[in-house]
Amino acid sequence: MIRFDQVSVRYDGPAGATPGEDVHAPQLALREVDLEIPEGELCLLVGPSGVGKSTLLGTVSGLVPHFTGGTLHGRVTVAGRDTRTHKPRELADVVGTVGQDPLAHFVTDTVEDELAYGMESLGLPPATMRRRVEETLDLLGLNDLRDRPIATLSGGQQQRVAIGSVLTPHPRVLVLDEPTSALDPGAAEEVLAVLQRLVHDLGTTVLMAEHRLERVVHYADQVLLLPEPGAPARLGDPADLMAVSPVQPPVVALGRLAGWSPLPLSVRDARRRAGPLRDRLADVSGDGARGTGPRPAVTPGVEEADAPAASATGGDAHGERELHDGTGPLARLRARVRSRPPHTARPSAEDGTAATPTAQIRGLTLRRGDITALHGVDLALRPGETIALMGRNGAGKSTLLGTLMGVHAPTAGTVTVGGAERLTPSRTHPRQLLRHAGLVPQEPRDLLYADTVAGECAAADTDAGAEPGTCRGLVAALLPGVADGMHPRDLSEGQRLALALAVILTARPELILLDEPTRGLDYAAKSRLVGILRTLAGERHSIVLATHDVELAAEVADRVVILAQGETVADGPVAEVVTSSPAFAPQVAKILAPARWLTVPQVRSALGAPDAQGAPE
């Protein structure tokens, strides 16, 4: 159905006018891809950031090179049409493309019009259009939303509308770039169920790139693996390729650890084989004891916790070594955040649980217009504690973080930050607040104004009133090897996040808030983030993460708070909350239930297995 003949893509100029993740790739964005994706397959494109996944997807729809520029060598044929001679608009009836941001995809303002738009462009007869719109509304469960303005829909609904809008012309190929990254687990399931139905019922060929493999890999019929920039692409059976993939979901990592063969890709397959492993783990540690307490690996030694995390999730072995010898980036980071001025390292903050909370929320209610965004929320954040804030899209997570930063003033109740100083964020000047709380927003780019990394750092020092060079030092610790003259826009998602975090840390706040930090991060970037967050928590920072990523929550959080409709519906230690809810349970917990294991590193350290397991051969 899709045939790649010796395809290479080269962008002109070092910066490369490329979309998304390819900014770091060398000029040659794609090298000699030569394979064929058969009809009616759900093919998952897997690879770390910057290997040219977006470029590969673009070549199928013809947007590369017709829209993005660059040079395409070789030939891509889709349903017999050569993309060199067919512009994207002439492929519109065989290829449907949905990009990363569904909002950037919509041309009209209501759901029904949006579904019809593509067919109108193709000039289909009105009776056909009407019939297909009705069919698609049913197929995607959108009938109740047909008259709704698109702007009022939730993220999952928007993603379904975007998929529906390219489905109505009945394309034979569907190309999706990270369709579930921005969605909560429930909405992601919804979208994936639709995709599977398309493949099964309509025989559509689906080619999809996704970082969150734990959500999608078990749906895939084939995996197209781009292991590293410039390496040959491989197409094959998911289990075979996952065994050698540098990026892998926890279920695969656990399977590799336990030596299962063939590798299980779904929780169900893994559970069937997990009996012996469960027994072994029960022998290794008294199961009852670990079920109730907090995770053992969090507090005692950050090094021990970091290293397995990095390797288990496919992190580079080189970064791991750095951690051990005490001169690595995380060690430098620790040194930098440790030398904090006296006002944050108050004596009261030193003695554990009895310490003054870093921030306190009591009976918080927030109304905007006639919408109640938060209702009666109580929360206390202790120093050194990491809290994961979860809940579906629109549950009030971002609003809660915004309230802690004074972006929103509470309608009722109190919010205080700054520990014993008890500042009310909305009435504190931003400059003062900055020393007590810092938020990295969902889109870290919103925080970055300057056109070079050095400029950004200088501005951050001025904003925070810190010594010149403070921020640059943090950047060096978080992001080794980033040049001063780079434009923040040219950084990868993970690097941008680290830069924004460095900017925030310049003012040495004791409360650090992150809104959806793992969106668009691959597993390596994610494990670096986990290392950073653990280091910060080890230095008695309070951290709040608003996230949909259950694996991240399981790995770094001590406590999980689940919000629904602006109210707290669960609040407790991560092991308890997460294992009691199927939607929020990480894969390892599902596989090893009823024992409360959450992450692969925990299992690995319990088994005393060597770390080398994670490295691909």
């Binding site: 729809s61 013809g62 947007l63 829209f67 993005t68 512009k87 994207p88 608009r89 492929l91 519109a92 009836d93 290829v95 493309t97 990009g99 909002l103 950037a104 995809h105 919509f106 041309v107 303002d109 209501t110 029904e112 019009d113 019809a116 738009y117 593509g118 067919m119 109108e120 462009s121 193709l122 000039g123 007869p125 009105p126 259009m129 009407r130 719109v133 047909r146 008259d147 303005p149 702007a151 809008s165 390219v166 012309p169 006639d370 930063m405 972006v407 000047h429 931003p430 400059r431 607040l433 900055l434 938020l439 927003p441 919103d446 925080l447 104004y449 501005a459 904003d463 900017v503 925030i504």
Partner: protein, 406 residues
């Protein structure tokens, strides 16, 4: 009220054609342009306001009606302000106040600053300002009632691309506002002030960058969805299209100017019609290039005819009345007299109320009120719990605060 007389609930396909609302409003505007009688103008405002109150939705454009009301008031106040301080060409004997007059050099003859302020002069300005304000309110009513995106969708195929540009621009504006808000909030996270004009200016560049990126992404998405596929058309046809369209539009402009001005009404209509025919022919020819089809186009049904006809009737009545009762439609400011309400032109204006009964009722989810209870059913009586921003129904609705002199 019999069941079949009752207006149906509006939904896609049963909605009134947006063009019908515009024709109705243009009819009312024509009527307003034909009189300076404050009573008639107030009646006209009341008619427009009542229809808006009865049939508007909670869509964003529907909220623009209050903006137009305020704009009308501003126009009125400005007109009075000028009459007060700069004098008025109308002679008058009832001096209200005498302002100190600023002596001006000879070359500024005819211009006066300060001086006597007469009741007649003010009255004349009031009548004039009310006429302008009423025109604005009629346009505002059409704006509030007609869905602009649907209106653009019913444009002929040749104008389709322009229509898409406008629709995209309309969806971009709210995104831009949201961006500004988000980035201003982000300034706070950097420890900078998030209030004041400076903060808006400083986020300008990032906002523009974001908008640019979004437009590129949208362009890519539109291209991938088949936007811009077109059929081959011979060169001669393309030339002819351009000629017809341009000539037609000029004719429409000249015709409507003549129709709205006092003299030249007799040749205004033929020129307008000829221009319209030419333009339509041009557009039809131009439509050959487009391979597009249209999904569920707006239907022009009986209710659309009724709505458009009621507006036209109001306009025709006033044009006719202009010949029959010139003094009643243009009450003289000198000498000062109370304006009379000419009965049958007033009755004619009331025809404009017809859409308040004939047009489909906005669906339960699209009504301005936020109460979850189902609407009170069709009919003229608006429930008291509706949005406070709307003017009170019936004759009490008037955008003009000043009581006209009696």
């Amino acid at each position: 009220m019999n069941g079949w007389l009752r207006a149906p609930e509006a939904r896609r396909g049963l909605d009134l054609h947006p063009g019908a609302w515009w024709l109705w409003a243009l009819g009312l505007a024509t009527a307003a342009s034909r009189t300076t009688n404050p009573l008639l103008l107030m009646l006209l405002c009341a008619v427009a306001g009542y229809v808006v109150a009865a049939r508007r939705t909670n869509a964003p454009w529907a909220r623009s009606y209050t903006v137009f009301l305020k704009l009308g008031l501003v126009v009125l106040v400005i007109r009075l302000f000028f009459a007060f301080f700069l004098g008025s060409p109308v002679p008058g004997s009832h001096v209200l106040v005498t302002m100190p007059e600023v002596p001006l050099p000879d070359w500024a003859q005819g211009v006066r600053v300060g001086g006597r302020v007469t009741a007649e002069g003010l009255m004349f300005a009031l009548y004039d300002g009310m006429k302008l304000a009423t025109l604005l309110i009629c346009v505002g009513a059409a704006n509030a009632l007609a869905n602009p995106a649907r209106l653009l969708k019913s444009l002929p195929g040749a104008l389709y691309e322009a229509g898409v540009a406008v629709v995209v621009a309309m969806t971009f504006a709210p995104n831009l506002v949201a961006d500004v808000r988000r980035l201003r909030a982000a300034r706070r996270l950097r420890g900078r002030a998030d209030k004041g004009l400076r903060s808006v200016l400083q986020v300008g560049l990032p906002v523009l960058e974001g908008a640019l990126e979004r437009s590129v992404a949208l362009a890519a998405a539109m291209d991938a969805r088949g936007y811009g596929r077109s059929a081959e058309v011979p060169r001669a046809v393309r030339r002819m299209t351009a000629l017809l369209t341009l000539g037609g539009l000029l004719g429409v402009c000249a015709g409507s100017y003549a129709l709205l001005s006092v003299q030249g009404a007799e040749y205004g209509l033929p020129v307008l019609l000829a221009g319209a025919v030419l333009a339509l022919a041009g557009l039809r020819l131009g439509g050959r290039r487009a391979v597009r089809t249209r999904y569920r186009p707006e239907l022009w049904g009986v209710r659309a005819w009724l709505t458009a006809a009621s507006g036209a009737a109001a306009g025709v009545v006033m044009v006719a009345a202009g010949g029959a009762f010139p003094e009643a439609l243009h009450p003289p400011a000198v000498p000062l007299t109370a304006p009379e309400l000419p009965l049958w032109p007033a009755a004619g204006l009331l025809i404009g109320l017809l859409p308040a009964f004939a047009a489909p009722v906005p669906g339960a989810g699209a009504r301005p009120a936020t109460n979850p209870a189902p609407g009170p059913g069709p009919g003229p009586a608006p429930p008291p719990a509706r949005a406070p921003a709307r003017p009170p129904a019936g004759s009490a609705s008037s955008p003009v605060p000043e009581e006209p002199a009696k």
